[in-house]
């Protein structure tokens, strides 16, 4: 059974579709990274799944239970946009309120444990009005995690966290997914953190889910390769294939040869020189995850405009 299934989820604001027929399914233990430019519809999608915003069309199922429009579920924990923190209460009290509402048997204990788990420690006994952005973010995570939900929806969970906090959050999420089978959706622009955390990716562009891939597929697509630029690609290919059977060669549309596998640039250069093949360029091409996703998200054009001038993720 899917932990989370959305079918054709759509939301239109004044006739303009912020989210357009998005369908996705998560198995227990999946960590799904949602990537997209500002205003692509990520936060709107998460809000509809969470039951904070009514969809114009489409359905949401959590662990087999169909949720009505604007229906929340005790199985879902959320941190969407800003942490929902009451500044007049302490960190522990904020989480206790949620724990009581969830009907947990020992809400104060559950809240204290969760505040400790997110690394707030002694600060959990201070009023939240004095919290820094990172501390509020940690508290927001505690609010999302209390009650051990089956599905976690996190919008920019690494926002404002110090390096130690980032590592802690990554560890918390990974252990929730691996040990308890929590399905997690993370919307974030911090791609290097996503790369270390998620098992699957979804790319959302102008409200539509335009691509889905596994972490392994992304890793493969972003692997470094050796690029050989030559005026005589067929002969260079013959020489290299004979000399380096363990490597993999691809001739690109511009006749450059892409070499992947265990082969050194120095060796390739020497082989081509000895064979008298003219070489105009020989370099290692590093394509990082950012380049890859920027391409998928639709290049580096302007941010998509949204209602009320807001930037929605």
């Amino acid at each position: 059974m899917d932990a989370l299934r959305c079918t054709d989820l759509t939301r239109a604001f004044r006739g303009k579709r912020a989210v357009d027929a998005v369908s996705l399914a998560l198995q227990p233990g999946d960590i799904y990274g949602l990537v997209g430019r500002n205003g692509a519809g990520k936060s709107t999608l998460l809000k509809m799944i969470a039951g904070y915003l009514a969809p114009t069309a489409g359905t949401v199922e959590v662990c087999g239970e169909a949720l009505g429009p604007c229906q929340t579920s005790s199985r879902i924990g959320c941190l969407i946009e800003h942490p929902a923190v009451n500044p007049a209460l302490t960190g522990v009290q904020n989480v206790t309120v949620r724990a009581i509402a969830q009907g947990l048997p020992d809400p104060k204990r559950a809240a204290t444990e969760m505040v400790e788990a997110v690394g707030l420690g002694e600060a959990g006994r201070d009023r939240a009005k004095g919290y820094s952005l990172g501390m509020k973010q940690r508290l927001g995570l505690a609010l999302a995690l209390v009650g051990r939900p089956d599905v976690l929806l996190l919008d920019e969970p690494f926002n404002g966290l110090d390096p130690e906090g980032v590592r802690l959050v990554r560890r918390l999420l990974t252990s929730a997914a691996e040990e308890r089978g929590t399905a997690i959706v993370i919307s974030s622009h911090v791609l290097d953190q996503l790369e270390r955390t998620v098992t699957r990716y979804g790319v959302i562009r102008a409200g539509r889910l335009v691509a889905e891939m596994t972490a392994a597929e992304v890793e493969e697509a972003c692997a470094d390769y050796l690029c050989v630029e030559t005026a005589d690609a067929p002969r260079a290919l013959t020489v290299l294939e004979q000399a380096c059977p363990e490597a993999c060669f691809t001739v690109m549309p511009d006749d450059a040869i892409r070499v992947t596998g265990a082969v050194e640039a120095e060796k390739v250069g020497r082989l081509l020189l000895e064979a008298g093949v003219p070489v105009s360029g020989l370099y290692v091409h590093a394509r990082d995850i950012e380049d890859y996703f920027v391409e998928l998200m639709g290049g580096t054009g302007a941010v998509r405009g949204t209602r009320g001038g807001e930037n929605r993720g």
Binding site: H82, A88, V97, R98, G103
Partner: protein, 255 residues
């Protein structure tokens, strides 16, 4: 019902631990002191038990503070987006409306009891003329006064939920307008300029049913009528339905 119970407990916890809860308690005690001052002006005017409770301005003053405080308290859920933390499953939005009603009624009962006790003690200490104490009459007064304070508060909360912006400001403005009776006085003044049939409908059919008219009746020690309960129950039910309906499709976010 379990969700309602959990949300009542959660809101109660928030009420007791919020920074302004101590201030609220202090305010009620200060208002109790104000009751003493009021007595010096009106105490020889109190011929009946009801009049003693009413003339001390318990209803007049406590209604204002209870409505202002509680309207702002529930508005905080929308101001900070903490209403999201109370959404824990199917029916949570309706449960929020019912929990607001229950918590408000509990607070109103407490505030009115505090006021009644202070009134009785002060009246005795100041050597007021003996009036026949009637536990049934006290219970009826206490209930109707508490329902009235609850109605003012819940109507203000309904306005806060319906209006899509500035929840805290809206709550305070709504509670102030309602409890000050400005709407009542406006309708009364406007009725003078209305055509005769409409004016008589407003002055005889509408204004006597309003919360302000009930407040004035309690203040003046008028006999408690059974229809007051029906009127207040109707206002409360309508307000809770409005809150639940407005919340049903409202986007839950930080203001």
């Amino acid at each position: 019902m379990r969700t309602v119970g959990n949300l009542v407990r959660a809101q109660w916890f928030r009420l007791l631990h919020g920074s302004s809860s101590g201030l609220f308690a202090l305010t009620l005690v200060a208002v109790a002191g104000f009751v003493v001052v009021q007595f010096t002006a009106y105490w020889d005017d109190c011929g009946t038990f009801r009049a003693v409770l009413g003339r001390a301005s318990v209803v007049e003053v406590y209604c204002v503070f209870v409505a202002l405080y509680l309207a702002a308290f529930f508005a905080e859920d929308f101001q900070y987006g903490t209403v999201r933390n109370l959404m824990v499953g199917k029916g949570s939005r309706r449960a929020w409306a019912l929990s607001a009603l229950v918590v408000t009624f509990g607070c109103a009962l407490g505030a009115m009891l505090l006021g009644a006790v202070v009134t009785g003690v002060v009246y005795g200490l100041m050597g007021g003329a003996p009036v026949a104490f009637d536990i049934g009459e006290l219970a009826a007064w206490w209930l109707v006064a508490s329902l009235l304070a609850t109605a003012f508060s819940v109507v203000a909360v309904a306005v806060t939920v319906v209006v899509p912006w500035a929840p805290l400001t809206t709550a305070v403005v709504a509670a102030t307008l309602l409890t000050s009776g400005l709407g009542y006085w406006f309708c009364q003044a406007a009725a003078v300029g209305l055509p005769a049939p409409l004016a008589s409908f407003v002055t005889e059919g509408v204004l006597p049913l309003t919360l302000t008219a009930l407040r004035l009746s309690l203040l003046n020690g008028a006999p408690i009528e059974p229809w007051w309960f029906a009127d207040l129950a109707l206002v409360l039910v309508a307000s809770v339905i409005i809150i639940a309906a407005a919340l049903n499709r409202k986007e839950l976010r930080q203001s």
